[in-house]
Each structure stands twice: as C-alpha cells, then as structure tokens.
Symmetry: C2
Subunit: 234 residues, 2 copies
C-alpha cells in the first residue's frame, strides 16, 4: 500500500528536526480529534518500518467536560496496533470557587497531566498534533496581541524536565489533514465542550483565511519563518 | 510652540538607529504627498535646533506622469525655509517598445535618479517617507508572496555606494500622519497617475486592516519585529 501523501510531510519534519532517535519513548497526546488521530496513525505506520527503534503510546486525557474517544476510533487504533490509555482527570473539581473555568486553564491542566505522566512513565518526548494553520494562527496572535514574533516550535526541550515537546504535523496544512481524515474514515469531531469560549481563536482563524486566501500564501507565510532577513527588519 | 506629537516618534527612531550624525548631508525624497511632507516639515524643524550640524535638501522627481508639487505646498516649504529642487525625469521615454509601464518599474527609475543625484551632489543619506503601515504591508506581502520575513528597514547602507537609506517615519502609524497633515493644512494627495495599477497594494492594505482592527494591534505587530523569539520559531 502506498504511503498517504501527508506522511511524507511528517517524514520530512521528523528528519529536519531529528525528532525521533533510537531508544526514544514517545507519548502521543490523543484527543480523539482528526489532528492527533493522524499523528497516531503515522506513528503506528512508522513503528512498522525497518530500523525504527522507538516506543510510543497514545494517551487520552478524559474529563467531565470532554467526551471519551469515540468507540469506532478506539477500534481503528486497535487495528493499527496502537497502545492506547485513557487517563481520567477531574478538571472541574480543580477549579477554585472564585475562579472561572476557561479553555486556556483546561488546556494547561491537561498539558500538566501529560507531562507528569511522561515523567512518571519514562517517556522522553511528547508528540502534539498542532498543524501549520495552528502555528500561523498562534504567530498572528502573538504578533498582534503580545508583540512577540513567535509561535509553536517543532521541537522544544523542557529546561526543567527530561522531556521534549515535538510537533510532527507542523508542515501539514489543516486542509490536507481534513482530506486525509475523510479518506481514512476518521470521525472528525473537534473540542466542543460547553465551557468553551474560543471566539478569539475563531476570529484569528478568519483573519488568517482573509490574509492567506490561497494554500500557497499560507505555505509561503509559514516557511518565511525559516527565512528571516535580519537586516531587513527593525 | 510645542512640538507636534509625531515629531517625538521621529526623534525616537532617529536616536534608536543613529540616523543623523554631525556633518551628514541628507537628501529627502519629496513626492508632494502627506508622508514626505511631514518628513520635510520635521527636518526643517530639526535643523533649527541647537547643536544640529547636518545639511538637508528636498528633491522632487517630476515626470510626464506625475504632477508637479502643489504650489500651496511649495509656498509652505518656502515658509519652512526648505531648500527644494525639482528634477525632471523622462520616465515614459525610457520604456522600451516591448515593455509595459508599471508602478514598480517607475519607482525603480525614480529611486535610481535619487541615488544618482545623491552621489553626484555629495549626499550621504537619502530619507524616505515610509511609515509604520507601509512597513507592515510590505512585511505581509513578503511573507505571503516571497516566503521571506523582511520589510523596509529603518536604516540600510548601500554596499556599493557611499549612501545610506533612512526611514524616519517608520515608528509613525499612517493615521497619525493623516491627523497631523490635516491639522497642518497640507494637501493630502497621493500617487494617482493613470498608469497605476496598485490593486495588489490595495488588497494587502485591506488585509492589514482586517488583521489589525485596532491601532494597538498594528503597533504590537510592528514592534514584534524587534522581539524575535528564535527558539519559538522554525
């Protein structure tokens, strides 16, 4: 069976940033959405290749406000031979009385749980499912809100912990993930908890689409981050 | 008389980039539009300050397809004590038979004439009237079209010639130039020759306004170029 087209983009970024080395133990954050499912599919494929000496595991963090992974998807992951674990985290119970639940806070809780799990279980890398559009949205938000030229990097070593964050989907435009997920028959649900107020995210998404009205512009913009002309800046 | 507010932004960028030094001979490109007129007004003001030992001159490049500087504006510049010269350049005559006249080509011709004039007459700096919005539009165009993170820099030394380009208005948002020009009663005409096809420029302007829907966002975006977080990029 030929490789899906987007796998070659993932191969490329893993090569460019030396994301996977022999002996790595990689924890994949599996939300059950299309992005992390592509990631899980890719790892199950890569693990079957010759000379691939790494371990991986998919971890789903469940809470009162997120759905469990769809049973069809769990079946698919079993077919793919993916080791999958479900970890229940009581997100709502951690909200203090005078605090308001929000997306950012929930994400931070989940990220902390991922990190704790990785450290406790000897994983040295955490793979996240952010794609090219996520990186561009974050770039635009950081520039216009924080006055900072930065985004989600492909490879980031934690300074305090023996763990690195990798983002193997960063070369992949979201449109290609959607197309691939459809072809492969994934359930394409996204984060839709009742607490969610992602209006800011929606706004910046619309602004990105307005700015980059062709797939080429999006790619140009993304790869401009590798082509920084210092003397033609401030 | 108190300084106009935008003069302090110009003071700041000149200080930050050491744009003006004792003994400098500075040629200002004066199109007759609001931007370069602010620049000319600023220089006439600065030249009257104590301990300012530089020379300057405003040069207007006229052609068959641009209007001469408005006579009211010429009078204003006389009041300001500005040395102003008009240089006629036969832009259309240089277009070869199989070539189509366009904005970019015309701008290049005019820039070349400015440079030649500066070299021939001993000017070591050329001051251009680009402002913050121009820089942001160019940034977005360079990112999405050329895959390059670059824009118009405040200070650029020509490698081949003893001349540097300076852009003293780069800290000034266009809205503040417009407000100042109105207050000062400038004629606010912009480049409107019949050959002009600036649809691309208009598009990117609309995209910038969509992306930065408040003055703060524009400023944040601009100053993010001074705050490049290399490890949070590609």
């Amino acid at each position: 069976m030929p490789q899906p087209k987007i796998f070659s983009l993932i191969d490329k970024i893993i090569f460019d940033y030396e994301m996977i080395k022999d002996g790595d133990k990689i924890l994949i954050a599996a939300s059950g959405g299309k992005d992390s499912t592509v990631l899980v599919e890719y790892f199950s494929n890569r693990a079957r290749r010759k000379n691939c000496n790494f371990e991986y595991k998919a971890l789903h963090i469940e809470s009162e406000i997120t759905k469990p992974i769809d049973s069809e998807l769990v079946k698919k992951m079993e077919e793919w031979n993916v080791p999958l674990e479900n970890l229940f985290v009581d997100i709502l119970a951690r909200v203090k009385p005078n605090q308001k639940m929000n997306c950012f806070w929930c994400a931070t809780q989940r990220r902390t749980e991922l990190l704790n799990y990785a450290i406790k279980n000897g994983f040295n890398k955490i793979a996240l499912g952010h794609h090219m559009d996520d990186a561009l949205e974050t770039l635009l938000m950081n520039m216009t809100e924080k006055s900072e030229l930065s985004t989600m990097p492909p490879y980031l070593k934690y300074e305090k912990y023996p763990v690195a964050i990798i983002r193997p989907l960063l070369y992949v435009p979201e449109a290609e993930i959607i197309a691939h997920a459809k072809d492969s028959g994934y359930i394409c649900h996204t984060c839709t908890c009742t607490y969610q107020d992602n209006s800011l995210r929606k706004q910046i998404r619309a602004k990105l689409e307005n700015l980059c009205d062709t797939p080429e512009k999006k790619e140009h913009m993304f790869y401009s981050l590798k082509n920084i002309q210092k003397e033609y800046l401030l």
